[in-house]
């Protein structure tokens, strides 16, 4: 799937890093799954 990585600097992002799902609220009340480093 496609998503965004949040909560870290761009240079810290690398293929293979461990991430966990987080939920980003949308204005219509739904939530988007995004990922942040663990």
């Amino acid at each position: 799937m496609m998503s965004n990585v949040v909560g870290c600097a761009p240079d810290e992002v690398a293929a293979g890093m461990r991430v966990a799902v987080a939920w980003e609220p949308l204005s219509d009340g739904r939530h988007l799954p995004v990922f942040r480093p663990t």
Binding site: M1, M2, S3, N4, V5, V6, C8, A9, P10, V13, A14, A15, G16, M17, R18, V19, A20, V21, W23, E24, L26, S27, G29, R30, H31, L32, P33, V34, F35, T38
Partner: protein, 481 residues
């Protein structure tokens, strides 16, 4: 017209849906899928038997929806008689051994669409907006994002470098320099490519094709008739199709295109091997595209495309290995759908009298391999519609309401393989951005809206390939036909 289709194929299962109220309870892809399943049940067959899909529109989308990997698709739309045309085409394909079991489907729900206020689709029913659901919310900008994902994954998995990709652009420009109709003909260097602005990391501006006009057409006739015409015929020796996905988020492996399926099949039909090919015309929408085609068609092993091209083997010099001349399309012809242009160049290369224009490696009877593909995700919509199935490669379970409030607290963490935080755009801005996509793309040329991709390796039993879905081999030698 000496041969007949009489008795070559048979309809073995049918299904239909109608209601006295004039309205059906389902629509779109859901309805299409139900019809296909019912017809297969009627025939005593299953989806696993299907290797051909026909509809009056995007047959690839139906295949993706049903997780089919057909070797034959037909999206011909000629109005109400499209479906009779599909039967004719499918019967011919079956007779030719291209496929074995074809499903054809149509579903239209204008009555319920009008009541619901849904806009009627111009070319049949719309399916779930997979891109709108799974890609647009994250800032995906087509087509750069899709190819950037493939490039970044290839780099992470195989150690391919930006310099190696840049070499393809450098070689491409060398081909263009010899073409008086090319848009840009000034030679460039690897440093030039790397110094050009990043469009979608890791792709630089000079890794990307130009936006230029182009046009072309071709004429195909029987071998018998071809021999009686004035032009030296270029006989088609083999062709094959492999369909896998419609949008990039559904691509099982970002580094493997379906050319890995269609390529060997086309070579088998042609009765030739890689070593017989003198000229290769590989689609080069982006440098990574040409590299993947070299690998998947078998000119080098998977993962070795970078080292294959880094010594300039795709440059216009007579080399012991085939050279992707179509790379010149980046500076010569780039249309939104350039297939017909490619066939023309393909035929030109194989034609002795045109060889002066081609400048490619020459032999008395060159064999030409051409690969074409579509952008992995050709549309980008601002609409977000619920999709009634999860993406194939996600770590989510079927039925997980990922866009709802009842989302699972934790999802198995997949592997992240691409993102640069500075390229990201807050999700809340995406609808507006998508509506103004082109304008935004121009304004943000140096800092494109971009998305991360999270990718899980396809599960066991999946050997699906993506990307180029058509490979055609032609040969000048009339004796081969």
């Amino acid at each position: 017209m000496g041969r007949s289709l009489r008795g070559a194929a048979a309809i073995v299962g049918v299904a239909d849906a109608a209601s006295p109220t004039g309205e059906l309870g389902t629509r779109g892809r859901t309805l299409e899928a139900a019809m296909i399943r019912e017809a297969l049940d009627d025939a005593g067959l299953t989806l696993a038997d299907v290797d051909g899909v026909c509809c009056s529109g995007i047959a690839t989308g139906i295949a993706e929806y049903l997780d089919l990997h057909p070797t034959y698709v037909d999206g011909t739309f000629v109005g109400g008689s499209s479906f009779e045309v599909h039967v004719e085409h499918a019967a011919a394909a079956i007779a030719a051994g291209v496929c074995d079991v074809v499903v054809g489907v149509y579903a239209a729900t204008p009555r319920q669409d009008r009541r619901r206020g849904a806009s009627p689709a111009a070319f049949g029913p719309m399916g779930p907006d997979v891109a709108g659901e799974w890609e647009t919310p994250y800032g995906s900008m087509m087509p750069m994002t899709s190819y950037a994902l493939a490039a970044d994954r290839h780099m992470a998995q195989y150690g391919t470098t930006p310099e190696q990709l840049a070499q393809i652009a450098v070689d491409t420009r060398r081909w263009a320099a010899m073409n008086p109709r090319a848009r840009y003909r000034t030679p460039i260097t690897v440093d030039d490519v790397l110094a050009s602005p990043v469009i979608a990391s890791p792709l630089h501006q000079l890794d990307c094709c130009l936006r230029t006009d182009g046009a072309g057409a071709y004429v195909l006739t029987s071998a018998e008739r071809a021999r009686g015409l004035a032009s030296p015929p270029v006989f088609v020796l083999g062709a094959a199709t492999a369909i896998d996905h419609w949008v990039i988020s559904q691509m099982p492996d970002l580094t493997v295109t379906p050319g890995a399926v269609s390529g060997p099949a086309a070579f088998a039909h042609a009765g030739i091997g890689i070593d017989d090919v003198d000229v290769l015309q590989a689609y080069d929408s982006f440098t990574i595209t040409a590299l993947l085609h070299l690998e998947d068609l078998g000119f080098c092993a998977k993962g070795e495309g970078g080292s294959f091209v880094e010594d300039g083997s795709s440059a216009p010099v007579v080399h012991c290995r085939p050279t992707p001349t179509a790379a010149a399309s980046r500076t010569r012809i780039r249309a939104s759908t350039g297939s017909s242009c490619w066939w023309k160049r393909c035929a030109s290369c194989a034609e002795p009298r045109a060889s002066a224009r081609c400048h490619g490696p020459r032999s008395p009877s060159p064999t030409v391999a051409a690969a074409c593909s579509r952008p992995p995700a050709p549309w980008c919509s601002a609409r977000r519609r619920r999709c009634d199935r999860p993406p194939r490669t996600a770590g989510l379970r079927r039925g997980d309401p990922v866009l709802g409030r009842d989302a699972p607290a934790a999802v198995r963490a997949p592997v992240v393989h691409h993102v640069r935080r500075r390229d990201l755009v807050p999700a809340r801005r995406l609808s507006a951005l998508s509506r103004r996509r082109d304008r935004v793309a121009r304004r943000r040329r140096r800092r494109h809206v971009y998305a991360a991709s999270v990718h899980s390796k396809p599960g066991p039993g999946r050997d699906a390939k993506d990307g180029p879905y058509a490979v055609v081999l032609v040969d000048l030698d009339a004796g081969c036909a």
